[in-house]
């Protein structure tokens, strides 16, 4: 598929029927969390869409995000990568290696300057550029260089979006997010550790379909997927509202599928599509399998004071502080009380007998 072909033409060339294309559009609408009534519009847009060049940069990351994407079940990743987008550079997925790979990147930049989409996974170390380099180029430099010619940047995963685990206290590499370094390009954050696969492909498809970035929240996340909290869409929410909580992982409440809030669930403050889109082809999501939400799509989720501690809980031992405080207060109280008693005793001692002759003012 040449870059001048529209997607519709390309698919038809490959012998994909109109019916198949419509099915693809229906799945795409669902993936983009758009209502089914949008399917004709999507079909019309996709038909005319030209496949963009995509450069994928991986920095301090675990490849979990790529793994997640390649597990993306709809449409098939091959289809996505080779039919829908032109993935011109991706360490893990490209066949080329060494100088050839870097040359592919440079060519893609040159040929599509100002038009290509940049996808980043992983955080960028700033403490020492040597901590992470590709072909001798530091992550910071590579990001800045590639970002310059990008039409938009998608920060995939919590590391690229917020710094993620490398950024966690004490952050030895001085890891930062893409948005910490790039200020002059539209950035879409697709956080999660990893993000839900269909969310990654949904965001890419949205960009492809409409040629624009989707509506974003204050953390630059697409509202279509991150607009509601896990808590708001959680099927266990009725138990929360009724005050029925699992107190442990194997107690009666856990067996009955009660709310996991008391086990530290971050659902109430975590914005993601897990509760509806779910994982593994819509099979389940952490809460459904009995584990509290870790809040992985939120900034600094690793430093939230413990996965098994609710967000409103003290992070330090308050009980001991309380005991000491009461002790100290009691001691101070006794000391001050003694001063008061001394003052009162002094007043009693200073008491002059009041006689009937003292009652008139001036006596």
């Amino acid at each position: 598929m040449s870059k001048d072909e529209t997607l519709g033409e390309a698919l038809r060339q490959q012998g994909i029927s109109r019916r198949g294309f419509l099915k693809f559009c229906a799945a795409t609408a669902s993936m983009m969390a758009l209502p089914p009534s949008m399917v004709p519009a999507i079909a019309a847009a996709l038909e005319k869409a030209r496949r963009p060049s995509v450069i994928w940069l991986s920095f301090q990351e675990c490849t979990g995000c790529t793994e997640s994407l390649t597990r993306s079940h709809s449409p098939t990743v091959e289809g996505l990568i080779f039919d829908v987008i032109s993935l011109d550079y991706h360490h893990t997925l490209q066949a080329a290696s060494g100088t050839a790979a870097e040359a592919a990147r440079e060519t893609a930049i040159e040929e599509n300057y100002g038009k290509y989409l940049l996808i980043v996974d992983g955080s960028i170390p700033t403490a020492n550029p040597g901590y992470s380099t590709i072909a001798g180029v530091s992550n910071v430099d590579m990001l800045k260089e590639v970002a310059k010619g990008a039409a938009a940047i998608v920060a995939v995963g919590s590391c690229a979006a917020f710094g993620g685990i490398p950024h966690a206290h004490p952050n030895p590499t001085g890891a930062v997010s893409v948005s910490d370094l790039v200020k002059d390009k539209p950035i879409i954050n697709v956080p999660g550790c990893p993000p839900i696969p269909v969310v990654i492909s949904g965001v890419l498809l949205h960009y492809l379909t409409f040629g624009a970035i989707p509506e974003l929240d204050s953390l630059s996340r697409p509202k279509a997927y991150y607009g509601q909290s896990i808590h708001d869409r959680c099927y266990r929410r009725p138990f929360y509202d009724k005050g029925l909580f699992a107190e442990g992982f194997d107690d009666e409440g856990a067996k009955k599928g009660w709310c996991l809030y008391k086990l530290g669930c971050k659902g109430p403050t975590t914005y993601n599509a897990c509760a509806t889109t779910k994982w593994n082809a819509g099979t389940s999501f952490p809460i459904e399998s009995g584990h509290p939400c870790l809040g992985c799509s939120e900034p600094d989720f690793w430093d939230g004071g413990g996965f098994y501690k609710a967000l409103s809980m003290p992070t330090e031992d308050i009980s001991r502080t309380a005991v000491y405080a009461i002790g100290a207060g009691a001691a101070a109280g006794v000391a001050l009380g003694a001063l008061n008693r001394a003052k009162k005793a002094k007043a009693t001692k200073a008491h002059e007998k009041v006689t009937i002759n003292d009652l008139e003012k001036g006596n």
Binding site: K344, H351, I356
Partner: protein, 426 residues
């Protein structure tokens, strides 16, 4: 700071104790006490809010007995209480408070405001901010033996008169009598019939009693003006006489604050428990009734209500006894709305009656009593405090109401079985 102010502030510091500190700590300025005070409800003036009357005392507490108050004082952030302020508060503390304690019953956090007013008056008097009327009464009480200046010969004249009228011997200075009767000056001067009524009842019940010529006065100006030394001196006279006559008990007559002084404050004023018991006449009569030693015939057919004297009922704990007694002689006994420990004051207690300056506000506040009476429209009011009786009559007259105010003891005496005076007064 002038010597008198110093003495006043010093007295405040002496008086503040744990209850006072807990009360001031708890006040949330909800203002509920305002509607419990007849001086506020009948004037609508916020300055008569009970807790506000304690403001100088509160400031002394805060500046001296709280850590942050001490701190603020050390930094010069708080204003010391001035003599002018005490002067300003004089009318609030003495003229528009009868220490009736109704606010103490209402305060949602449990502040005993009357308890604090009593303490505040110690400092006010020491600072020279007591009203002229009460100063005069106190001076007469100490020098003459009676706040109204009633001397022994006057009592002796009333005794002779009573003896003639009733044909009964009124015992004076009888050693070994069971009870020693105290009388308030008001009874001696205004209601001498009381002596005869007591004589009749105690004769029927077979109770031996006496009046002490050295200590017949029941009232105690000291606790009204707020000078413990004077109050103690007056109590000591009674105690000395009771001990000298070796009586088993002292009868507090129909007087509210006299009962408070001799029954509850007395031992604390002189710093030791009594060797005798103190009873209000209502308590004694009810005991006799219970023992079957008090028998009456006939009942009053008129509609009667009972006015609880604050110091006897709310502050003294004598609530059910007068009702037991009244039920013996009243056919149509009706309670006022808000009665017993929630009764409204006549407006003249706590030294207000001795303070002519307070006459105007006292009569204004009486409107509260009028409303209470209007709700039930009795033919007559019965009470067990001669001060209440006099000022109820005064208020009724002021408001153009025609309603006799009776002594419960006298009413009982009129219905004593086996006496010539049976039958009801129609």
């Amino acid at each position: 700071m002038s010597a008198s102010l110093q003495r006043g502030i010093n007295a405040f510091k002496e008086q503040i104790d744990a209850p006072v500190a807990s009360f001031f700590s708890s006040c949330v300025r909800c203002g509920l006490c305002a509607n419990a005070c007849l001086f506020h409800t009948e004037t609508g003036d916020p300055k008569y809010t009970p807790i506000h009357k304690l403001e100088p005392l509160r400031r002394v507490w805060q500046q001296n007995y709280t850590f942050w108050g001490r701190f603020a004082k050390a930094l010069g952030l708080s204003r010391a209480v001035t003599d002018d302020e005490l002067g300003e508060w004089e009318t609030l503390v003495y003229d528009s408070c009868t220490m009736c304690g109704r606010c103490s019953m209402v305060c949602p956090v449990g502040n005993d405001i009357a308890y604090m007013i009593r303490k505040m008056r110690e400092g006010m008097a020491a600072a020279g901010h007591a009203p002229e009327g009460l100063i005069g009464a106190s001076q007469r009480a100490v020098t003459i033996g009676s706040p109204m200046g009633v001397k022994l010969p006057a009592l002796q004249a009333q005794i002779r008169h009573t003896e003639q009228e009733t044909g009964l011997k009124i015992p004076v200075d009888v050693e070994g009598a069971e009870y020693m009767l105290l009388l308030s000056s008001m009874e001696i001067m205004n209601f001498p019939e009381f002596i005869g009524a007591i004589a009749k009842i105690l004769k029927q019940a077979g109770v031996s009693w006496t009046i002490a010529s050295e200590a017949f006065e029941a009232t105690n100006s000291g606790i009204q003006i707020g000078v413990s030394e004077i109050a103690a001196e007056l109590v000591e006279r009674v105690v000395a006489a009771a001990e000298k006559l070796k009586v088993k008990g002292v009868i507090s007559p129909e007087c509210g604050h006299a009962y408070m002084a001799i029954r509850w404050e007395g031992p604390n004023l002189i710093g030791r428990p009594y060797s005798f018991r103190v009873v209000h006449i209502m308590e004694l009569l009810d005991e006799l009734r219970e023992q079957g030693r008090l028998k009456t015939t006939g009942k009053e057919s008129q509609r009667l209500t009972y006015h609880d004297p604050c110091q006897v009922a709310r502050r003294g704990g004598v609530v059910k006894q007068p009702r037991n007694l009244l039920n013996m002689v009243a056919e149509d006994f009706v309670e006022m709305p808000e009665t017993g420990t929630m009764n409204w004051c006549c407006g003249a207690g706590g030294g207000v009656s001795a303070n002519e300056r307070a006459d105007e506000i006292r009569l204004k506040a009486f409107n509260r009593k009028k409303k209470q009476l209007d709700a039930i429209r009795p033919d007559a009011i019965v009470s067990a405090c001669s001060n209440c009786r006099i000022y109820l009559e005064d208020g009724l007259e002021e408001y153009g109401m025609d309603m006799p105010v009776l002594s419960l003891t006298e009413t009982i005496a009129e219905h004593l079985a086996g006496t010539e005076q049976t039958g009801s007064k129609e």
